[in-house]
């Protein structure tokens, strides 16, 4: 096995990992603020992927252009889902919240199956098979653009949380629910905003990932689990942790696919998850609660 091949696989794994990281960032932001684990996360991701394929088939629109309206739609739906369905569950026990989102996941996942059937769908853009060549290193154009979109979105979100008034208010709600209420913040509104932002992350990640992966309905639960693994490895609620976790999982999957067998690649991720949960349950970059 040549050194070049390993380097190429590492780069591809890192770039895919950044897209995974953006998806997981959505989950992490939602958990970090609302303290609810979004069991329908992967299903939301597949909805975005289907949206990109449909819009491409109908209007020949590039997935990166489509990402903007899809993200806006996801923001609105995320807001409504939190405001209408999840907010009343904030004070309920954990298993009750779990089951609520499991029910949402069942509905969304099977609605996709009803509408699109079980066959895989994809889209073909003209730059999909091109690559940049740096000496003997090849980088897929589509993969690089997808990672670029992920980093761009994540950076935007960081700036939003650090610099804007709304972002600070959301962080206040996350840090101290009661305190935020006392100073007059409309906590439920900010919770809904947060869920909407989580939806934006998923929407853009989905539109980017559809260039790299064919979409089928069973991908939903798979991505839900993948997002869990990533945020726990990186640290639930930590934003940089989600991206780092995404890269780690992307690279480890790519290497496992190269050195062991592709079908065993997620065993590696789950093994990593178990180790992290046991020895650093707050995640690599998480803070101890």
């Amino acid at each position: 096995m040549s050194f070049d091949l390993v380097v190429n696989v590492l780069i591809a794994g890192t770039l895919t990992g950044l897209v995974y990281g953006l998806m997981a960032l959505g989950l992490s932001v939602i958990f970090g603020v609302v303290r609810v684990v979004n069991f329908a996360h992967g299903e939301m991701m597949t909805v975005a992927m289907y949206a990109a394929t449909v819009l491409f088939a109908l209007l020949k629109l590039d997935p990166f252009i489509v990402a903007a309206p899809v993200a806006a739609t996801f923001f609105v739906f995320g807001y409504l889902l939190q405001a209408g369905l999840i907010n009343p569950f904030i004070t309920r026990p954990e298993h009750s919240q779990f089951m609520l989102l499991v029910a949402v996941a069942i509905i969304v996942g099977n609605a996709l199956l009803m509408v699109f059937g079980p066959d895989a769908r994809n889209l073909q853009v003209d730059y999909q098979l091109d690559s940049f060549e740096l000496g003997r290193i090849l980088i897929d154009k589509a993969r690089l653009y997808a990672a670029g979109a992920a980093v761009f979105t994540a950076t935007g979100l960081f700036v939003f949380f650090k610099k804007t008034k709304t972002g600070k208010a959301i962080r206040a709600c996350a840090d101290n629910y009661l305190g935020a209420k006392v100073v007059g913040l409309n906590v439920k509104h900010y919770y809904a905003l947060t869920f909407g932002l989580g939806g934006v992350c998923v929407a853009i990640a989905g539109c980017a990932l559809v260039l790299l992966v064919d979409v089928t309905p069973p991908l939903g639960p798979y991505y839900t689990l993948l997002a869990f693994v990533i945020v726990i490895v990186g640290g639930l609620g930590s934003m940089t942790g989600a991206l780092l976790g995404g890269v780690l999982i992307g690279v480890s999957e790519a290497l496992a696919g190269l050195f062991i067998t592709p079908s065993a690649k997620s065993m590696f991720s789950f093994g990593l998850l178990i180790l992290v949960l046991l020895f650093r349950p707050q995640g690599l970059l998480g803070k101890r609660s």
């Binding site: 369905l85 954990e94 509905i107 099977n110 065993a264 998850l273 349950p281």
Partner: protein, 320 residues
Amino acid sequence: MKKEFIYPGILGILLVALPAFAGNYALSVATLILYFAYTGQAWNVMMGFAGQLSLGHALYVGVGGYAAGAIFYHWGIGPWAGLWVAMALCVALGLLIGFLAFRFGISGVYFALLTIAFAEFTRIGFDHLDWIGGPGGMFLKVAQRDTWDLANFRGPPLMYYYTILFLTISALLLCFFLLKSKAGYYWQAIRENEEAAQALGINTFRWKMLAVALSSAMTSISGVFYAFYYNNLFPEQVFSMNRSIELILGPVIGGVGTLFGPILGAVVLTALSDGLTELLAALGWEIPGIKQVFYGVVLLLVIMFLPNGIWPAISRRLRL
């Protein structure tokens, strides 16, 4: 005779007499209901009593089923011996997960995700184990269905019905006495407030481990039953997260932590699932996925409007 024994007693007698007037289809539905009721009861010991949320109980069903199934498949040794192997393996697994989690102070969401991780890890591992058939599955030889071969647990549907009925009643009685025992009170104390329980001098680690051990042992039996009733096992199916969720829907819908919740939940869900199949077939709407969408909607409505489950609402109404 106390009031709390009368209704379950009548129900029990009806269930024992059921095969006399039920057809094969009704019997298979009843078997399925009891299977979910029993497995839900087993999960309930851990979550409902001791408050430890497991979302990976398919792990114990799968390992139990595969253990007893493989022993029968490879060496022709019946499940009465395999059962103990299955139980020992599952208890060991449960204790391992419990030990790791409770020693390192993992609880709540993190514990639930850890149980999912172990189940998924095992699923992919079994996919790569050729000894038990890998992803192609393991098939037990289907024996003649008209004779009762108790030694190998092969026989007509009636035999399976009575077995799972016996298991469900035993589990119900066990849980009834457990709830009134010292362990039951300790568990409920831990469930309600672990720190307070600890402050009162309860060794919460030991009692939580006991709950995990008991729950995994009970669930392993349900795995052995599953293997010999359905005669085929696929890692993709038995260990999937969907299966884990399917197993806990009954107790969640029926009422977590109640004695009759898992049973009622299993009845409601199975009736709903079968009813939907019939209804959609009658309407000619047989699109893949449509049944699950309805199922999800009903689940959503129950969780939203009956947060404690159906059983507490009914028992209040009936003043039981």
